[in-house]
Structure formats: C-alpha cells, structure tokens
C-alpha cells in the first residue's frame, strides 16, 4: 500500500508544477501581447465571441441575481427594520461582487470551454502544426487574440451586467416591495461610489485574463483524441472558475484594504 504522505507529496508537487507551467504560459502570452505581429481579424473574431455572444447569458444571470438579491435583502432586513437599505445593498453587492463574479463564471463556462475545445481540436487535426509550418507563431495567432478579447470584453460585459443587475433589483423593489421609484433611484445613486464600479471592472479584466489563459493552456496541452479534448474542456472550466474565485478574494482584499 502506498504511503499516504508520499501520495500527498506527489499530488502537491504535481499541483505546484502545474501552477508553474500555467504561470510560464501566461507570462509568455502577456509578452506576445506587446510584440508584433498582430492578427487583427482574429482579435476581432475573439472580441465577438467573448463579448457580443456572451451578452445574453451574462444579462440573464445579472437580472435574476439583482432580483433575488433585492428580495432576499428585503426579507432579511425587515427583521431589523432596515428594509430601506435594499437599494444600497443591491447596488454595492452587484457592482463590487455579484456582477464581476457571476459574469466571470458565466464567461468561464461558455468561453473557456469553447477555447479549450477549439484549440484542442486544432491540435488533434494538426492545424497547430500547420501554423508552425506556415511560420506563424501559434501563441500569436491563438493565445494573444483570446487574451486581448478576455481582458477587454469581460469588463464591458460586467458593466452591462452591473446595469442590468441594478435594474433587476429596481424592478422587484418598485413592483413587488412597494418602494417608490424616485427614492430607490436616489438611494442607489447616493450610495454608489466610483471605486465600487472601478474595482468590479478591474476584477473583470483579471477574470477575462484567467478565462483566456486557462482555456488556451488546457487546449494546448490536451491529450490527443476525443477524450483528451473533453478532459481539456472540463479542465478549462474548473481551473478558470477556481482562478476567478481566488483572484476575486485577493483583489477584494487589495481594493478594500482588508
């Protein structure tokens, strides 16, 4: 029987080695983002995939998150006669946390998996070898456009998610919870600070980076065959989500001085 400590040690070394590999991959990707050549068409294609095509799912998530948040806050706060704070809680929660995290997780599920599957399939069908023989750096053609699209478009999605999420809270509060339209809007504006939105957008950029890097990394290092591509897809979503949650905590601690 294997020594449990030895097994734990091997597992830890594997995890650390994987973190090291992803870090090197990410650093190489970032370096190439600042060096020519740029494939503008591919960058635009990825911007459409990450940004435009993710809008419906992110919007849907945001509106329901805002609506549920308003309901739950109202129910909880009535116990302390603090139901007047619903608007403040909704706007702060959405802009600081729920907007970026929900949008990030949705994009991770939708985009990271598709990146891993696409690059994994390209590897299987020798398209990456074809790029090499055509003297095209696969990093520049495949990784850079996805990183740029992730870093630029996830903040854009989060901005939209923030607006839609706050709107969701507003709709529930004014139609079901008898808040007046004027006072709800006034309270929302009064309690929303620039740093709430900015911190959310910075988080979104980091989340977009995570989604792109983990998707590309898993695709590039997928095993051959359908199972390999399937495993890469799962790995991309799981690692992106974990990355998003870890960076969310670190950035929250950084922004709000905890």
């Amino acid at each position: 029987m294997a020594n449990p400590l030895s097994t734990l040690g091997k597992y830890t070394l594997n995890v650390l080695s994987e973190i090291g590999n992803v870090s090197i991959f990410a650093a190489t990707g970032v370096r190439h983002c600042f060096l020519p050549t740029f494939y503008w068409r591919e960058i635009l294609r990825q911007i459409m995939i990450v940004g435009f095509y993710s809008l419906p799912i992110v919007g849907l998530t945001a509106i329901f998150a805002g609506m549920v948040l308003a309901l739950q806050t109202y129910v909880g706060f009535t116990r302390f006669n603090a139901e007047g704070a619903v608007a403040s809680v909704v706007v702060i929660s959405i802009t600081r946390e729920l907007g970026p995290v929900f949008a990030g997780l949705m994009v991770a599920g939708r985009v990271s998996s598709s990146i891993a599957a696409e690059i994994g399939s390209m590897k299987v069908s020798e398209q990456i070898d074809a790029l090499l023989t055509l003297q095209v750096n696969p990093f520049k053609f495949l990784v850079v456009p996805r990183i740029i699209a992730g870093v630029l478009m996830v903040p854009f999605l989060v901005l939209i998610a923030d607006i839609i999420g706050v709107m969701g809270g507003f709709i529930v509060s004014t139609t079901l919870l008898d808040f007046s339209v004027g006072s709800y809007i006034a309270q929302t504006i009064q309690n929303m600070e620039t740093i709430d939105v900015i911190s959310g957008l910075v988080k979104a950029s980091v989340f977009g980076f995570c989604v792109a890097v983990f998707g590309c990394y898993n695709g590039f290092y997928s095993n051959l065959g359908a199972k390999g591509v399937g495993d890469a897809t799962t790995g991309a979503v799981v690692s992106s989500c974990i990355g998003i949650l870890i960076f969310n905590y670190l950035l929250t601690a950084l922004f709000f001085g905890i």
């Binding site: 070898d129 074809a130 003297q135």
Partner: protein, 252 residues
C-alpha cells in the same frame, strides 16, 4: 545534388518507445521520394522531425547544408518547406480562399497579390469559384484535399511534403488526387517527399523509394527494383501490398 540528409537520426518518445532508430537517408534535389512503410513504423514522425516540429534526440537533419538543430537559421530552414497534411489541417475558422491566402501570405505580404495567388492556385487544383467562400466543413474530403494542396503550393516551397495524400478518400477520388499531385510535382519542379503505406501511390509518384521499418530505412531504390531487391522485407512488403500477389502468403 543532395538536398536533404538524414544522418544517424534517433528519436524516442517520453514513454521510451524508440521511433526513429539510427535513420540515415539522402534525398536528391528535384526528386520525388517516397517513404513507404507500415502503419506505426515512424513515417509521420519522420516528417515532423524533418520539419523540426519534433526535436530529434541525436544525429542531424540538414537541408542545403542548414541543420534543423541550428536555431539561428531555423526560420530560413522552415521556409523551404510546405506540407499537405494527412487530415488536410485547413483552418476551420477561415474560408477555403482565406486558408490559401493565409498560406500565400508567408512569402508575400501584399494582400492583393496573395488574393490573386490564392485564386490562381485554387483554380489550378481544380476547385470552382463557388467553393472559394465556403468553410472547410462545408465541402467534401476530396475538395478539402485540393484546397490543402492549393495552400501548400501557394507558399512556393522548395520542398513539398505529402503525408498520406490519399488516406480517407475513395479509390476514384484518391486516383484523381494522385494525378493532381503528379501534375503538381511536374509543373513546380520541386523536391517532394511523400509518406504513404500505399504501394500504388508509390508506384505512381516515385522516382525513388525508401522503405521504413521499425524506425530505420531498410531499403532504398527504384520501385521497379523492389520486387527483386534481395531484401526480404522489401520483397514481402511488395507482395503483401500487391492485390494480385495476395495468394503468395506474404510474411509481413
């Protein structure tokens, strides 16, 4: 004049499996050379090592005196090649014409010129204009092979590599593609290496054949000499591949 030299090349996978085992072969300029062998004998690894996509463990591969291991000259080395992949390897996100433009772009940066070259090459391989704007998934395997060939020749290479050019095609389409390859070889006057297990393809395209077995070249010569080469493996391979000779109980 010798164009390509494989000099005592060894290549093993991480698992320890040795794929190329002290392989040496010389390929002359302008010749159509066939690497013939059974599945799993190292044919595709041979090509990937030649292109430098897979690093070799020891030995050397040189083209016009430039070593695949010389990192400073690798881009110059790679510029000499173009390859028709076994599965075509057309880029899914691009149309057929864009795929060929992408290939032409390696040598010419002018977009209009690349567009003109792409149209010429696509017509030269027998594709009609109506398929230019379709995506690879929207056309047949034979058409994809033609498009991949158009991309390969749009690069204007010195050495053309064909990896199992007829695999996955029906015999009729395979024959058409073989004819197309022969015409291409003749018209471009380039050095070509074709990887195949199909003796009929070899007979049709070869100036010379190298027979690969267990990672080593066991026989090189004209295909007409293969049957009576005196090499047991070569003769068995010939008989096993020849439908007429199936009754001779080949020993491969």
């Amino acid at each position: 004049m010798t164009k390509i030299i494989f000099d005592n090349v060894f290549k093993s996978f991480d698992s320890g499996l040795r794929v190329l085992n002290n392989l040496s072969v010389r390929i002359e300029e302008g010749e159509s050379h066939i690497i013939l062998g059974q599945s799993g004998c190292g044919k595709s690894v041979f090509l990937k090592c030649l292109l430098g996509i897979m690093p070799i463990d020891s030995g050397d591969i040189t083209v016009d005196g430039i070593s695949v291991r010389d990192e400073n000259c690798y881009q110059e080395y790679l510029r000499k090649f173009s390859i028709l992949f076994q599965g075509n390897a057309l880029f899914d996100s691009m149309t057929i014409k864009e795929n060929v433009i992408f290939g032409a772009n390696r040598r010419n940066k002018d977009r209009k010129l690349c567009n003109k070259i792409a149209e010429e090459k696509l017509l030269a391989v027998g594709l009609e204009e109506r398929v230019f704007d379709l995506y690879p998934a929207e056309i047949s395997g034979g058409m994809q092979k033609r498009a991949a060939l158009a991309r390969a020749i749009a690069v204007e290479p010195e050495i053309l590599l064909f990896d199992e050019p007829t695999s996955g095609l029906d015999p009729i389409t395979g024959g058409v593609i073989c004819n197309l390859l022969k015409d291409t070889i003749k018209s471009l006057d380039v050095t070509t290496i074709t990887i195949t297990h199909d003796l009929r393809v070899a007979e049709f395209l070869a100036d010379r054949v190298s027979l690969l077995n267990k990672g080593n070249i066991v026989w090189t010569g004209c295909i007409s000499d293969m049957q009576k080469s005196g090499n047991e493996f070569a003769e068995n391979f010939y008989h096993a591949s020849n439908v007429i000779s199936l009754n001779k109980k080949a020993k491969i």
